[in-house]
Symmetry: C2
Subunit: 314 residues, 2 copies
């Protein structure tokens, strides 16, 4: 299956990603088989460029993704899309699935689209997504777009694993943008004001520009551009892809790309290690060693730090 | 400071919670000093009843919190309020802070209100909140309301640490409610349709009732009531508090309260243990042992599972 995925067979890729989602027992071997093809280890470039795309509900993420995919295809690049749905810890991402079936790119063999639900557990996005990226990278995609709605901490999580992060905004979103501002100022490499044909688009751009100007940046740091698009008409998509390319070039040259990829791999290793520990802690005896410690904390016999020490001392 | 917090001095309580938020070095000793007073260990009851309150943006969480606090005060109970802001990983929760200063209860010595920002890191809510609850519990509050907007996984996190979870809905929220449904059906102990004087409230209630009827419940399981309120006028708050009391009584009798508290303590111990491991992994040598492993994963020399094994083998 790994070999077929490497040849770009969509069904094999899809099944590997399902194994990632289900945390299947054979995932270990799959990842071992993919390892030699990771991160451009066997490619002239440095592997798939991971582009995160995030924004509040209603800014036009789906249409923007479609417009970007169309532009990337025009440049003859193979594109993977992972649509992460953080609001569906239980549903398996059915809402996004519906959208994807309607996508104009659903039948293009150079495009692979997949929706993933963030699991009910903490770290859902960060645990499964890097492994899905690993599959798409080994399958030879040039660009992988990871799209998620910017609610809760999901936008921060996506930014942590992307090589380049696009933050989408739109006029007329009112409080939503205000509330989101604090977070998005720290994560965007490229800002896009979508629905630029509507009233207020220039105001959004001006507000954003003055806020970004306040942020301190080191010398030689990347200066995030603020672009305008009308994604429903494809307007501006080429400029966005150009800006992503420019950011990638800067990131390679400055070493930032390498740093981000180390961070991504580190997060992934950590998530796997922690899941393994959790399993170990829960399984020591019938109730689990950790349940016993929890009871002693509840009874006031131990504080949680002392209990954590005992857990780690095992 | 612990002694003064135990006497209910608001400033001491606030400073202890700041230490929780800042992950201060002396937090360890603070928690050790609080331990003997945990979970009602030294009280006739079983300690502060933790009530989670969640719902989509716009359902009226702040007004509902205010109405519930007023009703609880009418019953002569001391109330702590923790308002968790999951959308502000960086800001320190300034938005909620503004609201709190305007609260009618801000000057009532029987009420302690505090906003907390979920940190930029994963597990922000689940790591700091249980420790803040520990402070309020030891300070002798009868009820602690933990309020959070139901976006991302924050509602699931809050439900995991509450003794009783209230899910708020409102008519006219459109897709928001639809999208939220899958998650909220699993977490609510008490459902409240707020803004019940508006068109569509009965429809929301009917929809919810038929969806809850589909959920399988074991014999003797709690059957979540669906109440109606107009929080801005205080209408229905007494019924909500009665329902929370009824749930608490059921939870004590059935053993569910004990199970939930074990889970909460377990999550807390785990979060502390994992933070300690993270620190250890990062500090082995200058770049950190984990960075080294991450580099070998990027180079294709190891897969992330093998790297995690090596990390844990240290």
């Amino acid at each position: 299956m790994v070999a077929r995925a490497r040849e770009g067979e969509a069904r094999a890729i899809g099944r590997l990603i399902s194994q990632v989602e289900d945390d299947a027992p054979q995932l270990r071997e799959v990842m071992a088989a993919l390892a030699p093809h990771a991160g451009g280890a066997d490619r002239a470039d440095r592997g798939a460029h991971v582009v995160g795309l995030t924004g509040s509900p209603g800014v036009g993420k789906s249409t923007s993704t479609n417009a970007l995919v169309a532009e990337l295809r025009r440049r003859d690049l193979r594109v993977g899309v992972l649509a992460i749905d953080p609001s569906s810890p239980y549903s398996g991402g059915a809402l996004l699935g519906d959208r994807i079936r309607m996508s104009e790119h659903a039948t293009d063999p150079g495009v692979f689209i997949r929706s993933m639900a963030a699991r009910g557990h903490l770290g859902g996005v960060s645990r499964a997504t890097p492994q899905a990226l690993r599959v798409l990278d080994a399958a030879g995609f040039d660009v992988v777009l990871v799209e998620t709605v910017g609610v809760g901490q999901s936008e921060v999580e996506i930014a942590r694993l992307a090589d380049t992060t696009i933050v989408l905004l739109a006029p007329g979103m009112g409080d939503g943008i205000q509330a989101a501002k604090a977070g998005i100022l720290e994560i965007g490499d490229v800002y896009v004001v979508n629905k630029a044909d509507r009233d207020g688009a220039d105001q959004v751009r001006r507000d954003l520009r003055s806020m970004l100007a306040l942020a301190e940046r080191r010398e030689g740091a990347w200066k995030p551009p603020i672009l305008k698009t009308v994604a429903s008409e494809g307007t501006g998509a080429a400029e966005v892809v150009d800006a992503v390319d420019a950011h990638r070039a800067w990131a390679e040259e400055s070493g930032e790309l390498g740093r981000r990829r180390v961070r991504r791999a580190r997060d992934e290793i950590e998530a796997i290690a922690m899941a393994a520990l959790r399993e170990r802690w829960g399984a020591v005896d019938e109730g689990g060693r950790i349940d016993e410690l929890a009871s002693s904390v509840i009874a006031g016999d131990a504080d949680p730090y002392a209990a954590a020490d005992r857990l780690l001392g095992e």
